[in-house]
């Protein structure tokens, strides 16, 4: 079982959990398990079957884009991180604080 760290902007979709234990031996299987547990997350991480281009996934310290992408192997006790692009916490502009991945 690996752990996925959930960034603040996505915690509303994971019942405010900051990390989720997932099964699966690859990045794509782990994400599939995550979105199976929290279906509302799916639209934020996937566009159809593909991980959205602006979603950054790190396995331990490394960007999976420079490993094997979604096929990257995930071992027991690995940590996956979803890294969001965040811009600030201002409440003034309607879409400005829409921070996602």
């Amino acid at each position: 079982m690996a752990t996925i760290r959930i960034p603040t902007p996505l915690r509303p979709y994971t019942g405010n959990q900051n990390s989720v234990i997932v099964s699966g031996d690859s990045v794509s299987a782990a994400l599939a398990d995550l979105t199976g547990q929290y279906p509302d997350l799916r639209q934020h991480l996937f566009d159809g079957d593909k991980v959205r281009s602006f979603v950054n996934i790190f396995l331990n310290e490394e960007d999976v884009r420079y490993l094997d992408g979604a096929a990257t192997a995930v071992a027991e006790n690995d940590t996956l991180m979803i890294i969001p692009s965040i811009a600030g916490g201002k409440l003034v502009l309607s879409l400005d604080c829409l921070v996602l991945l």
Binding site: D63, R65, P84, S85, I86, A87, L95, L98, V99
Partner: protein, 402 residues
């Protein structure tokens, strides 16, 4: 990666420290890592801060205190009460003043030996290169995506290091993006999140201390970079979670296909960043998002009051979050709270026959909900223009404005 030499020793030949300055910087001078040479490097250097707000406050104060010779500030905003919870360079007496004036005053009070240059403009594609060019180090303390991409691209084009910090609620990020030595912001985030994917600002806000922590770390990195000591944050991204007091670090790589910093860039000049991000960069912007362009039927607070006073049957739907309802609400007028994320699922609780007044804090979320309700056949829905804050200002001063 160990930092490289930013200030050439020859540039220090004309720099000297007065007795007063030696005394002021004593705790730097007695550390061999800084010493007289390091302090002169700080005096010879120049740093530009984009934004004099949450991140800019501790940055400007610490960089002034540290004796950075020339500090530039870019901001066009005026201090308001909602800034004071985190923007500690400004005080209550400064509300209504230009942030630049207030910030400069505080900085020169901390250290009259530094030069503070102010730029009272929003940073745009038209002025960015000219404003950034004279500075050694650029520090990104902005609060929106268009300006972040603009700052990054301008730094790449000019070959400047960009000390990056970003905050959201309880979470912070820190890095140095410097294309000459490592990845840039676009290597990590090639494109911004599409506007509207998360349909709400309801999850916004920031812990007041968070920009203090992150801004102080940015100042640390800028000073290390200028001194040429320690391990810099180039090629590293620090993630800070204040809620759990966790620091996590990941490694960043230069994207060989980066549109701006790779060997074959597709982007060789600044672009329209509001168009690119699909959101306005600042309050003064004329940019309208695709959705904002589609007007929804509005009702002004005084008109709503008139119609309620006339005894008309109206249904007020408040689409904010429960913690916002606790700050102010129209419960006494029969308002019903359904947070925007739940409205579609709970549409059966709404009466299509009665005119619906949809209301949030300032009118943006409620406009989004009206567009959504229109798709589901609600014809009689009006947006309370300016939200409950404008209602409080024009109709009911017993309510607070937040």
């Amino acid at each position: 990666m160990t930092v490289k030499r930013l200030i050439h020793p020859d540039a220090l030949a004309d720099i000297s420290l007065s007795h007063e300055e030696v005394q002021r910087y004593s705790r730097h001078l007695i550390m061999p890592e800084v010493g007289m040479t390091g302090q002169k490097k700080l005096k010879a250097s120049s740093v530009l801060l984009i934004g004099a707000g949450g991140l800019g406050s501790p940055l400007a104060m610490y960089l002034a205190a540290a004796g950075i010779g020339r500090i530039g500030l870019v901001d066009y905003d005026v201090v308001d009460y909602t800034n004071l919870q985190r923007q500690i360079i400004h005080g209550t007496k400064d509300v209504g003043r230009l942030k630049l004036q207030s910030a400069k005053e505080t900085m020169l009070d901390i250290n009259p030996h530094v030069q503070v240059d102010t730029y009272e403009v929003p940073l745009t594609s038209a002025n960015a290169l000219e404003i950034l060019a004279p500075y050694d180090v650029i520090i990104d303390g902005t609060d929106n995506f268009p300006t972040r991409y603009l700052t990054n691209d301008a730094c790449v084009l000019l070959g400047k290091p960009n000390v990056y910090g970003s905050i959201f609620r309880f979470e912070g990020q820190l890095s140095i993006f410097h294309a000459a030595e490592g990845p840039c912001y676009r290597c990590l985030f090639p494109e911004p999140p599409p506007p509207g994917l998360v349909p709400s600002c309801a999850e916004g806000g920031v812990l007041g201390i968070l920009p203090g922590t992150v801004g102080a770390m940015q100042a640390t990195e800028a000073i290390k970079y200028i001194l040429g000591i320690g391990e810099s944050m180039v090629g590293r991204l620090l993630l800070y979670d204040a809620l759990n007091m966790e620091f996590t670090e990941v490694r960043l790589q230069k994207n060989p296909n980066c549109p701006v910093c790779s060997d074959n860039p597709t982007l060789t000049e600044l672009i329209d960043y509001e168009q690119f991000c699909g959101v306005p960069a600042h309050d003064h912007s004329l940019y309208l998002t695709a959705e904002e362009g589609e007007a929804v039927p509005q009702i002004a607070p005084l008109e709503l009051k008139r119609r309620l006073d006339a005894g008309e049957e109206l249904f007020i739907l408040d689409v904010r979050e429960p913690h916002e309802w606790e700050i102010s609400n129209l419960n006494h007028l029969g308002a019903k709270l359904i947070p925007m994320g739940d409205v579609v699922a709970r549409m059966n609780e709404l009466d299509t026959a009665v005119t619906l007044i949809v209301q949030c804090r300032t009118g943006a979320r409620s406009a989004d909900i009206i567009r959504e309700l229109q798709k589901h056949g609600f014809k009689k829905a009006l947006n309370l223009d300016g939200g409950i804050n404008r209602w409080a200002s024009e109709v009911d001063p017993s309510l607070p404005i937040y």
